[in-house]
Amino acid sequence: MTIYRSAAAVAVLSFVASFALTYAGAAAAYHTRFVADNCNYASPTPTTFITRDGSATVALRARHEGYQWAGGCWNDNDKDDSPNDPTTNAGTGGEGGDCSGFTFKVWREALDTSNAGFHQWGMLRNVHGPYTAAAFKAGAGAPNITASKSGLIKMDALASDGHIGLIYAVNPDGTDQIIEAKGEAYGTSIWTRTYRGSSSYSGVRRVGWSS
């Protein structure tokens, strides 16, 4: 059925949609000063390589920092400087990345999705990058590929449509220690997870590791 405008036709649609996306202009007034007071928009430093150990070090600097929906700026003082931000609100200006923004920075990715090169972002550079968890899961963008879960190693990722976490270490029982920006109530840290065994999660790898 093709409709340029047919009110009668569309009115009978049974689209299952008992949800409400944000009405524009109705964003919460809540706002913190963390991003405004601490973060920057400096250009990234181009580099020629990425190593898994170096990437893990970058990730650990975000540990115990906060979580910010659509965010990507944190310091390294091991506390959430903007606790209890409203969730799923990109405009609160709080500390931390979300899961995909965290992955983007740790994997030294470029804003241009066709660029698989390495861009080193400062902790306080407020950047999220162009990928959602669903995009990472699909292997979207030149730097990212899907990979067999059985072959994933340190600093590869496990992604579902709504979340992504990086493998920090593999436990003897086959579970993984995942470093991830988990949520406002949890912040960013390392937890033992069973993502690898979940059918919702797929393996994702950044291309071009030196070691």
Binding site: F15, A17, G25, A27, Y41, D98, V127, T132, A133, G162
Partner: protein, 214 residues
């Protein structure tokens, strides 16, 4: 991005005066003549209040047994909303057994270059969920986002550069809109949105800030 001209009466008047003098505003070089699938572009069936630029209506199709977002992704199903616009196309749907809305996005007539996913929670507002993994020919990034129109809206209009893109509302489904006006550095887009009743009356006009997230 320039705020909706509808919000700036003085600016609207100035534009109108220039248009009358030049008699050329409706033949802007950016005015599209066809949609991304090659379909000729049409004007909307009603006059849309507050829209001063050339308006182009996008196509919306409901359902289709053969719709697919690609291997490994849930099938859109009969309730899916397929849209074809000037720069991009999309399918928005709720997958069976999920409390989530999904979309696949394309920058060409066929094939998908992006996927979106957002949980649905009763009475909980979600974000527009900007997707930025698609590009037009030449590499210009193309953004996709969801707009949730008010119940009385029949059209969602996005002010594009040189024209207005008109999206007929389909039931209560969020409207997947497209924009090339993206800020790559901040992974965000600022959309000038207006919503209109079936007779073209403007119900609301606002700026929607959409960011890549989650």
């Amino acid at each position: 991005m320039v705020p909706p001209t509808a919000r700036r009466p003085a600016a609207r008047l100035a534009v109108a005066v220039v248009c009358v003098v030049a008699s050329a505003c409706r033949h802007d070089a950016a005015q599209p003549t066809q949609l991304v699938d090659g379909t000729p572009a049409h004007a909307p069936p009603v006059t849309l209040e507050g829209i001063s630029t050339t308006a182009v209506t996008t196509i919306v199709r409901i359902g289709g047994a053969k719709l697919s977002c690609g291997r490994g992704l849930p099938a859109p199903g009969l309730g899916a909303v397929r849209r074809v616009g000037v720069s991009g196309s999309s399918i928005t749907f709720v997958a069976r057994g999920e409390r989530a809305v999904r979309a696949c996005d394309g920058a060409q007539a066929d094939g998908w270059c992006g996927h979106a996913f957002a949980h649905i929670r009763s009475n909980r507002r979600l974000d527009p969920r900007l997707s930025l993994t698609c590009s037009q020919e030449g590499g210009t990034p193309l953004g996709f986002a969801w707009v949730q129109p008010r119940p009385s809206a029949a059209y969602v209009v996005i002010e594009q550069r040189g024209y207005a893109e008109v999206y007929p509302v389909a039931g209560s489904a969020p409207v997947r809109v497209t924009t090339a006006e993206v800020d790559v550095a901040t992974s965000s887009a600022r959309l000038d949105v207006s919503e209109h009743a079936a007779n073209g009356r403007r119900i609301s006009a606002y700026v929607l800030d959409a960011q890549v997230s989650g």
